[in-house]
């Protein structure tokens, strides 16, 4: 039997697909523009394909060491922050998810408090300065090394594991560290996957701390490099437009800008469809509660 579609279904599908295209097309257009010559861009700005793709913008970007350094910095930050953050958060989450013990409630509340109240930009800046971390990638690694939000997600996961596991291991003479490492961590693989992805995305998108603490542009992470290219190029757009030899020039500001956007966005774009379910898993672990 064939499913019957009503007029309502058709309208619904049309609207949802239209909204999907509206989200998709701007990204697609950016990718197209990154391959377009100025002449082609002027001819058909609402393009669906590129008839004569050029790689000038990419050559320009990749010959510039900025992006190389950007990737290097971002990956360095990732290398340190990702494993450390996940480990610290899991350890804390495990301890706080056990039966109450001396000071555990106070420590829990003091931890959750930092999620809602912080020193603010300037005190944090001065603290980084006083630690001598200015202009060092360590500053970006350290800020955000421990996310209370992620810790609570893990804690909620641990709550879901029956206490009998812990008790029987204790009877066998295992201590808390062994129970944590050998029983609870293997069980927590799904939530660890989710938290690792959240952390990896956060590191990939990091620019604010780096902008405040790192003045040496050779150490800038990817996003900050991109930010500079975008804001510098915007100021040259209008000059390009007024020029007489507009059409003759092969590359143009947007071309290079979009190539930079694509180079920064590509890893997430390629990985996202495959890991989407882990991200969504993180949301269904339960509402965030202290």
């Amino acid at each position: 039997m064939k499913k019957k579609y009503t007029v309502g279904d058709i309208v619904l599908v049309t609207i949802l697909v239209a909204w999907g295209l509206l989200i998709f097309y701007p990204f697609y257009n950016s990718i197209l523009v990154s391959f377009m010559s100025q002449a082609e861009y002027m001819r058909k700005p609402f393009a669906l394909w590129v008839s004569k793709p050029i790689l000038v913008a990419y050559e320009e970007i990749l010959s510039d060491s900025k992006f190389f350094y950007g990737y290097k910095s971002t990956l360095t930050i990732m290398l340190f922050r990702l494993p450390l953050a996940v480990l610290i958060e899991c350890m804390m989450a495990y301890a706080l998810s056990r039966k109450p013990f001396f000071m555990s409630k106070i420590i829990n509340n003091m931890t959750v408090f930092t999620m809602y109240f912080g020193g603010g930009t300037i005190p944090t800046y001065l603290m980084i300065k006083s630690y001598g971390l200015m202009n060092s990638l360590a500053s970006v690694v350290v800020i955000g090394l421990f996310s209370v939000y992620n810790m609570i997600l893990i804690k909620n996961f641990f709550y879901g594991i029956p206490d009998s596991l812990e008790e029987s291991a204790k009877l066998d003479g295992a201590n808390d560290i062994r129970i944590f490492a050998q029983i609870y961590m293997p069980l927590a693989k799904p939530i660890i996957a989710t938290i690792s992805l959240f952390t990896a995305v956060a590191v990939w998108n990091e620019w604010y701390s780096a902008m405040l603490y790192i003045s040496d542009s050779d150490k800038w992470p990817l996003q900050l490099v991109l930010r500079e290219i975008i804001s510098n190029a915007t100021s040259t757009v209008k000059e390009d437009l007024s020029g007489e030899d507009l059409m003759l020039k092969e590359t143009f500001a947007l071309n290079v800008q979009m190539a930079a956007v694509v180079v920064t966005m590509l890893p997430i774009m390629l990985v996202y469809p495959f890991v989407q379910k882990y991200f969504m898993g993180g949301l269904t672990v339960g509402a965030v509660k202290g």
Binding site: L87, A95, R98, G119, G120, P123, N205, T264, M265
Partner: protein
């Protein structure tokens, strides 16, 4: 009298022995907490110590402790500064604008998605809808610059239909709606997931019963879906209201330019600018930051109380 004192003393020492015992028994748990506690003490709480600056006149040579106390002078300056009042009002207006215009979208998307029968289409669309959430505003603003460029797709469409090209991001009237629209564009797909999860949890018998009562598509949405996700909506709404002084720094910082700057200037962009671009007055900036944190924290507490009253469950505990 004497015996009760002795009793108290005894129970005190008993209590003492109890917590010592608890500490010894759980020594490995403390060890597991140690790295996080070091982080909290050395970073989170150490940064809070710097808040003292809000009540001092910061002198880099003397440091935070050595600088001179000046009481509430910075706060007085703040409230007599008309530009600060402008920025504060902007922050609140933009924030409420976001609540009014962007908040309902995630719910609408979730309900529409739930009505969608084609599974493959559903999956593909969900991937597209949620994807932009995982990009930074640096990237997304780049994509939007291209899309709204003077010679870009939108303006070319406008021109093709005989309209006049516009500098969208350099128009004081258009910039705020553009902030809302791009916010919806980037985030509502992701936010809809929470509502979708709530909708999936609704007992299907409720829908069957509604069907028997002759309810159509709208009837079911209105009488079953919406009442069932009311709790989720309220919790999300109260959480959003608690964040009223966060009007979207990342987005505004990356999409702003000199033409529209004062139109969409919010507390966070203002603090950044007075600290890192002009001659910095660290104490004053700290005071503005503290003002924001205190109001923000108070809002969270209030909203939590409210949520408890309405739904019987708070966000915090």
């Amino acid at each position: 009298m004497k015996t009760s004192m002795a009793k108290q003393k005894k129970s005190k020492s008993l209590l003492r022995r109890e917590w010592v015992k608890s500490m010894v028994q759980n020594r490995y748990l403390y060890l597991l907490m140690l790295p996080a506690i070091i982080y909290l003490v050395m970073i989170s709480y150490r940064a809070m110590y710097g808040i003292l600056l809000a009540f001092k006149d910061y002198n880099p040579k003397l440091g935070i402790m050595g600088s001179e106390w000046i009481g509430l002078k910075h706060f007085k300056n703040m409230f007599t500064d008309p530009y600060f009042r402008h920025v504060l009002l902007n922050t609140i207006l933009i924030s409420f604008g976001r609540i009014i215009f962007t908040f309902p979208f995630a719910i609408i998307i979730a309900i529409a998605f739930n009505e969608l029968k084609q599974r493959h289409l559903k999956k593909t669309l969900q991937t597209i809808y949620t994807f932009p959430h995982f990009l930074s505003w640096v990237i997304v603003s780049g994509v939007i610059f291209n899309f709204l460029d003077y010679t870009g797709p939108v303006n070319s469409m406008v021109a093709a239909f005989g309209g006049e090209r516009k500098v969208f991001l350099g128009d004081k009237k258009l910039i705020t709606p553009i902030l809302y629209i791009t916010d919806i564009w980037k985030e509502s797909g992701w936010k809809s997931i929470i509502y979708l999860a709530a909708i999936t949890g609704i007992n299907s018998e409720l829908y069957e019963a509604a069907e028997l009562d002759g309810a159509g598509r709208w009837g079911k949405i209105w009488h079953v879906t919406l009442p069932c996700i009311r709790g989720t909506i309220l919790v999300m709404l109260t959480m959003r209201v608690g964040q009223v002084l966060n009007a979207g720094f990342d987005q505004i910082f990356n999409m702003s330019n000199t033409v529209v700057q004062s139109t969409i200037d919010i507390l966070d962009t203002y603090v950044y600018r007075i600290t890192f671009q002009q001659t910095p007055d660290f104490s004053y900036s700290t005071a503005v930051g503290l003002f924001k944190s205190v109001i923000g924290f108070t809002m969270v507490i209030l909203v939590n109380k409210l949520s408890k009253k309405m739904e019987g469950t708070g966000i915090l505990d």
